[in-house]
Amino acid sequence: MLRPEEKAALSLREIYESHGYSFYRMSRFEEYDFYADKKDFFASKAILTFTDINGKLMALRPDVTLSIIKHAKNDSLQKFYYDEKVYRVPKNADSFHEISQAGVECIGSLRDEDVRDVIELAVMSLRLIAGTRRCILDIADAGVITNLLKGNEKRDEILKCLAEKNIHGLKRFNAPENLILLAEIQDSPDKALNVLEGITDSHCLGVLEGMNEYYDELRIDFSAVNNLNYYNGIVFKGFIEGIPESIISGGEYDNLIHMMGKDSNSRALGFAVYLDLIERGSD
């Protein structure tokens, strides 16, 4: 018998295959050095290590994306999906956990239609897991926020308030007026894109125009912005009714692939589905 999260993983793989993504299988270990200089990109800094029989310090993978980037060629466009375990210390936990994660990564010379395809896959993943329950994909533009906060001494405090929809906090920290206006948006693209246009120019959210088939689930909501070291463009978080935290998290992370030696004009976009959360919503 398959457990609900195993069933979901199989169905997700079918969806990703049908969109031209190929399965990426990797070793559970990487050399520790591989992660050591990229810690800024992770929310959790702890890495589970062990010494291999040849004396090399190895790490149990805390993240899948880095391994995929490492193996990706400097090619025109590559699309991968995965279904793996990662090893992290979740927030507020005091030990490592094994976390089941599925997801997609799209790396190379991305066009708008590839971005739309990734968003479509994220919504389809949500719908699949949600079944009869409702689901929502919050989408924002991390680049706009980075620009608004350039040189701002209270950057970290303001970002925290933005993630908390804490408007009174944003005012207290004298956040830029436009950022406060962005923080107040929480609507589907048909309404929100017009409002957004009056505040700032966001090409990466412009791609949502015409994705009407997904407007029921899509929400422009800047509380989805997190980790500006990692994300530089579109960023999103997916929620399902009855599951208390976001089950999908993703976005565009060009800085990371440039740092890892890929072409300076190449882009990367992907998301992860936290399969362990499925059982949290089953009761």
């Binding site: 927030k91 409702r134 929502i136 919050d138 308030c161 908390e164 929809k165 804490n166 009174h168 906090g169 929480q186 929400r219 509380s223 929620f239 399902i240 009714e241 009855g242 599951i243 208390p244 935290e245 976001s246």
Partner: protein
Amino acid sequence: MLNIALPKGRLGEKVCRLFAKSGYEFPGMLDNNRKLVFVNEEFNLRCFWVKPFDVPVYVERGTADIGVAGKDILLERNPDVYELSDLKTGYCKMSVAAREDFKDDSQKILRVATEFPNIAKNYYAGHGRDIDIITLRGSLELAPVLGLSDVIVDIVETGTTLRENNLHVLSVIAELSARLIANKSAYKFRKEIISEIMRRLESNS
């Protein structure tokens, strides 16, 4: 049913009155009894008393859809929730206090007694100061008086308790008050009712 976690104690009672004033009555909630769960049939709300420190846990994990917590607790626990509103009640200050005769010797490690180790750690990290945190569960004023610590990081409301123990405030870390928080997922799917509660609480606070 929308679940609401309120902090048991003085702040919770104030907030409970604010809910009643806003049209959300929970019969029996302020009576002196041991009941923990109260229902408002009209709006289909269920309210429960929990330890103030636990409110963010109930909300972050979705057992409560919304809750009210002091900013001190939110700063200490740093939960992944929405902080929707400042309810402008339960005002006080997270402060550093010491004995009247205290002189800071920057060559020594500063001993800090507190119930809020994360707040203390973050504050002194921002000042680049080496500290030794002593976590206590109350009667903080005793620590500097008896020489257990050099300073305390604690909530100061009027300052009376400090004065009675010959302590005074050295600096204010944060302004505190009651905040309305919401589970991120619950907020997306129950936005109408949560926004309505927020609007009414704000107009009555």
